[in-house]
């Protein structure tokens, strides 16, 4: 990918190209701005959508949240001053917090009432797994949620996570492993105690 006026540094990913913003204080012209937004969308949109869906459990709500996230990206791309993944995290976290703040007073419906139609066993198992994942993610700390988001939804390598957190790569590996262990513990505990 072409380097955008010294502001973004390209790195290769298995499926998408992701840019990293370093000096975005200067205003961008339209072409650079559009290219940077599209790179962000191609690199992180599916991961953001997956994380949002994992958190809220409703595809329509998740679509709305992701749509809001990338509308904010379009409007505020000049504010992307460091890692686009970290910047996206701040937006995703804010939008999720807004959603949960608005829907917290509502009591959750029983799972049996969500979709009474009979489903194939694979689909039912997947839904069960997603439900456990959602509840487990809710119980993680802010830092652990950020690690899970970067590591398992955006597929950011440990070296980049270390750069964003200001830690060494080995230390990030330890934190990632502890987060994974905590997540596994929560999900297996939930599954063992239905």
């Amino acid at each position: 990918m072409a380097r955008a006026r010294g502001a973004c540094k390209a790195r290769s990913q298995p499926t998408q190209s992701v840019t990293e913003c370093n000096t975005p204080a200067a205003p961008l012209d339209s072409s650079e701005r559009q290219r940077q937004i599209e790179a962000l969308f191609r690199g992180y949109a599916r991961g953001v959508g997956s994380y949002a869906l994992a958190r809220v459990g409703d595809p329509q709500v998740a679509e709305t949240i992701v749509s809001n996230v990338f509308l904010i990206v379009v409007r505020r791309i000049e504010q992307c001053r460091s890692s686009p993944a970290a910047w996206l995290w701040s937006i995703v976290r804010s939008e999720l917090a807004r959603y949960f703040r608005q829907h917290r007073p509502m009591a959750p419906l029983p799972a049996t009432c969500l979709d009474p139609a009979p489903r194939p066993p694979e689909i039912a198992e997947g839904l069960e797994m997603q439900s456990r994942m959602r509840q487990a993610l809710e119980r993680l700390t802010e830092e652990q949620q950020r690690i899970v988001y970067l590591k398992f939804f955006l597929d950011v390598p440990n070296t980049q996570i270390a750069g964003e957190l200001g830690l060494s790569a080995s230390n990030v590996g330890v934190i990632v492993h502890r987060t994974l262990a905590r997540l596994r513990e929560l999900m297996e505990t939930r599954s063992s105690n239905p």
Binding site: P27, L28, D29, S30, R33, Q34, I37, F41, A45, R46, G49, S50, A52, L53, A54, G57, P59, A62, E63, V66, S67, F70, L71, V73, V74, R75, E78, G126, M129, Q130, M133, F152, F153, G173, V174, V176, H177, R178, L180, A181, L183, R184, E185, M187
Partner: protein, 537 residues
């Protein structure tokens, strides 16, 4: 990928699980991640692209944006002002609009009758030779005069009682002067009181004109009686307080010298310099201040000039003659005499100065010329001349030149026989704009009518022919009238001036300011002689 820590004793779950187990679980977690449908992702992308299309192509600097907005607002305001100003101006091809580059509209309407109050001829001559015979040194030659002056009352002195007419005039003058009065108004009031013979304490004047006021106050104290020999000290101190250079000027030095003589000193004060220009006698400023005060009180200029010139007092010259004879002033005597001649303005002053200088021939010649001008010596001749000239000609051809330079007037008197009152009186109308429709002229914008001594100001004036002859001038809006004898001014809602009769009719809320009080009327008329008639309250 993830490597399980080998030195973490707190993580009990990771101790008994292999790396392969962790890798499998991680993959299971990855596989369990929910994924938004492709259609949803497409909708999100479409929405994002629409937002990108709506965003401006370039993001403008915020400061530059503010400047652009301010510039747009200013340009818009200027355009709006230009639009309003150019669309409010009436096309009006008949309108002559005044602009600073063009003169005001000026029209004249002839008056069919003699207009304005007739001058009241004084009962005293303008040249007061008989009263000042001692000063001009011709007491012995009075019998040689072909035509002696008629009996006349004495010049008012401070000891005399004020006349009944003077009292309201003085009260009005005091009201006009204000409290505290400025030097010029205080000087005018001082001279009016002197002429009326009313003694009053000197007011505390404030600038401007304070120096002239104190000089005249000192001048009018002369000559000092024996029991008040040091009376000049206080006003001289006030004069020095107002003017730090006063001690070195001519007239203050003269007063100091006179004070030293009266207090019995044999030598003049050592700091007398007689520096600076002599100017005129201190009474000259007093005359002008009194004239201005009378005009301000509504007196026509010609009448005010007659009042000023027929009530002059030259008593202070007696003090100067006494000082001239003092041996202590021998060193500066020539300087003083030259100064008196340079300052001489009136006939008596000039002859007095010439006598002191020993130029009796010049003095006699000047006196002879003065006596040849009969209307300056005989009030009866003056009354005839004033009646023939009329107020306007009397002011411009006779009284104004006399007030400016009496001695010069006598040296080269104008031939008033060639001047007749045939100069028709006119009402002069001036305004910013005039329009004419069907023979009716409409004046607008700072309209003024000058008819003789009268001056009427208004917002709008309509001029149309009367039923018989003459022109009716109908005024409206902020009417203010001045110049009517006996009135300090007046206001009204409506006014009509008839050039055929010279009568001014006032209507609406009429308010006339007399010397003593204000009169509120519904309507009234003022005759061409200044008499207020037909008053309706």
């Amino acid at each position: 990928m993830t490597q399980p820590p080998t030195n973490n004793s707190t993580d009990s779950a990771s101790d008994d699980r292999s790396d392969a187990d962790w890798a499998r679980w991680a993959q299971t977690f990855r596989d369990a991640r929910p994924v938004l449908p492709e259609a949803a992702m497409q909708r999100i992308e479409d929405g994002m692209r629409r937002e990108m299309a709506q965003r401006p192509a370039t993001r403008m600097n915020r400061k530059l944006s503010i400047l652009v907005i301010i510039a747009i607002v200013l340009i818009g305001a200027a355009a709006a002002e230009w639009f309003i100003s150019h669309h409010q101006a009436p096309p009006a091809p008949l309108v002559i609009r005044n602009t600073p580059a063009t003169p005001r509209v000026r029209d004249e309407y002839p008056l069919d009758v003699p207009f304005g109050p007739q001058l009241i001829a004084p009962d005293q001559p303008i040249l007061q030779l008989a009263e000042n015979a001692d000063l001009i040194g011709e007491a012995e030659s009075r019998s040689d005069h072909a035509r002696p002056s008629p009996p006349r009352p004495a010049v008012p002195s401070p000891a005399s009682q004020p006349s009944a007419l003077a009292s309201p005039l003085l009260r009005a003058a005091a009201r006009v002067a204000g409290e505290p009065p400025d030097g010029w108004h205080a000087l005018g009031l001082l001279e009016m009181r002197r002429a009326a013979g009313v003694a009053a304490p000197l007011p505390q004047a404030v600038p401007p004109g304070v120096v002239e006021f104190h000089l005249d106050a000192c001048w009018r104290m002369l000559p000092l009686p024996a029991d008040r020999a040091d009376a000049l000290k206080a006003p001289l101190q006030s004069l020095r307080k107002e003017d730090g250079q006063a001690s070195s000027q001519f007239w203050p030095s003269d007063f100091q010298l006179y004070s030293a003589m009266k207090t019995g000193k044999s030598q003049p004060p050592p700091d007398l310099a007689f520096a600076g220009a002599v100017g005129t006698f201190p009474s000259r400023a007093g005359e002008q201040a009194r004239f201005d005060m009378l005009v301000e009180l509504g007196t026509p200029k010609a009448q005010a000039a007659l009042a000023v010139m027929t009530s002059r007092s030259y008593r202070p010259l007696l003090a100067l003659r006494e000082l001239d004879r003092w041996q202590g002033a021998a060193a500066c005597r020539d300087r003083l005499r030259d100064g008196y001649l340079a300052a001489a303005h009136d006939l008596v002053e000039r002859v007095f100065a010439l006598r002191l200088l020993g130029r009796d021939r010049d003095a006699d010649a000047l006196l002879a010329k003065a006596r040849q001008i009969r209307y300056l010596n005989d009030p009866r001749d003056l009354a005839v001349l004033l009646a023939r000239l009329g107020p306007a000609n009397a002011w411009t051809q006779l009284l104004q030149p006399l007030m400016r330079d009496e001695a010069g007037f006598i040296q080269n008197p104008p031939n008033l026989d060639q001047i007749s009152p045939a100069i028709p009186a006119r009402a002069i109308v001036q305004a910013d704009a005039k329009s004419t429709q069907e023979g009716v002229g409409v004046y607008t914008g700072h309209v003024t009518i000058n008819a003789g001594p009268w001056k009427l100001a208004c917002d709008k004036l309509t001029a149309f022919r009367g039923s018989e002859q003459g022109t009716l001038l109908s005024a409206a809006g902020h009417i203010h009238i001045t110049g009517i004898l006996g009135l300090m001014g007046g206001t009204a809602d409506e006014a009509t001036f008839d050039t055929a009769t010279g009568e001014l009719k006032l209507a609406g809320h009429v308010r006339l300011e007399t010397w003593e009080h204000a009169v509120e009327l519904k309507s009234c008329s003022i005759s061409r002689t200044g008499e207020v008639r037909n008053q309706m309250r």
